[in-house]
Symmetry: none
Subunit: 203 residues, 2 copies
DNA sequence: TCTTGATTTACGATATATCGAGATCTATAT
DNA sequence: ATATAGATCTCGATATATCGTAAATCAAGA
């Protein structure tokens, strides 16, 4: 396997112009004019309707890199996550997600975890971190615009709740494994769970 | 001839899913929104129940592999065992069990014991053990979700409990999505969950 | 033969990834 | 400054893989 398909966007895509400070050396100070000092279209406040682009030039790959910097994803997950973030009104086509991921891989910014059965899970590399750091300003601006994409339920849920949820989950698992749950016991447990659900509901 | 794909599939598994704040869990066949079924051809087949999946991507073959790692089974036994584990509310169709077993065989993860009267009994191989070890985290999470399948003393989870668990899970998910959980609210919810856990524990 | 265990085949739906055509933007040469 | 080339975003169509149901088929036993 490992068939490097001959894709147009691959190989060595934008070579000459963007000084991407990728390999050999890389000075953090003399930061390249990579992605964030593009005068003119900054906050994209214009709201250009109909067919306008959601992401400007290097933005999509920056967003993907920032997302896989948090945790590994695979392409379909990224599509669904971004789609959900935009409330379903926009969903990046696979035709742009997968080539971008492949590009990140080719550049050494992301690597494919060995996976099973057709799913490629990408994780960030050291070079990717460096690139992300070099473009942190643009990345932060992007994440601020898009909002929290990956950390939906982990950052927002308070710790005590997570602890209690894990606790209950474990108790249920142990109880089920113990076996011998008669009808009355099942009803009692169900009632307790329903009571908790009601408390949650009107909290 | 059925060309079984040659996949190496080695290495890290997929991410572990949360039971509560996550997506999938214990639901036998409860899905949020049913998609419309086309009233088209009569013929045969046709999933009028295509919605919620119990196992996502590589989970079924992991479960089967984990089961035959304990002792050899044949397909029908696996179907019945899983069905009993879910209290009869769900039973994996043979159309998914047998191809998966054939896949495990082709991959070298399982082997067919000498056929006895029309049935094929599968046992795990060394490669299968290696694969299972590589995906231990996901496998354990799966077994925890499904419960101890095939061991003696295993009984089905009563329907009221499953319903109540689903109910609580949904309530928590909705509450988390609503956001704005201050510390006091979190404590109240955690206390309710802990109370339920205690009830479960001494039931 | 009829029933029951056990497997195979057919078909559909979803998940995941690949490929191709077209539109738009940026950079660079003229 | 304009033209051109190339890179990137976007949509779709397509290709597999896997999960799913239901019927058809096959192999013993009553």
């Amino acid at each position: 396997m490992k068939h490097r398909h001959t894709h147009d966007g691959r190989g060595r895509p934008f070579a000459a112009h963007e000084d991407f400070s990728g390999h050999h050396g890389f000075h953090p100070h003399s930061h390249p004019h990579a992605l964030h000092d593009r005068p003119g279209r900054h906050g994209r406040g214009g709201g250009r309707h109909g067919g306008g682009r959601l992401f400007d030039y290097g933005e999509l790959r920056l967003l993907l890199l920032a997302m896989i910097a948090e945790r590994p994803w695979h392409g379909y997950e990224l599509i669904k996550a971004i789609e959900e973030r935009f409330g379903g009104s926009y969903s990046p086509s696979p035709g742009v997600i997968y080539p971008t991921l492949a590009w990140l891989d080719d550049m050494g910014y992301a690597a494919i975890e060995p996976v099973e059965a057709g799913r490629k899970r990408y994780r960030i590399t050291a070079e990717g971190e460096a690139f992300l750091a070099a473009n942190r300003a643009a990345a932060d601006e992007l994440l601020a615009r898009v909002g929290p994409v990956g950390r939906e339920g982990s950052e927002a849920v308070p710790a005590p709740m997570i602890r209690a949820m894990e606790n209950l989950k474990l108790a249920l698992r142990l109880r089920i494994q113990r076996g011998s749950i008669d009808a009355a016991t099942a009803e009692a447990i169900a009632a307790a769970l329903d009571a908790a659900a009601q408390t949650v509901e009107r909290s």
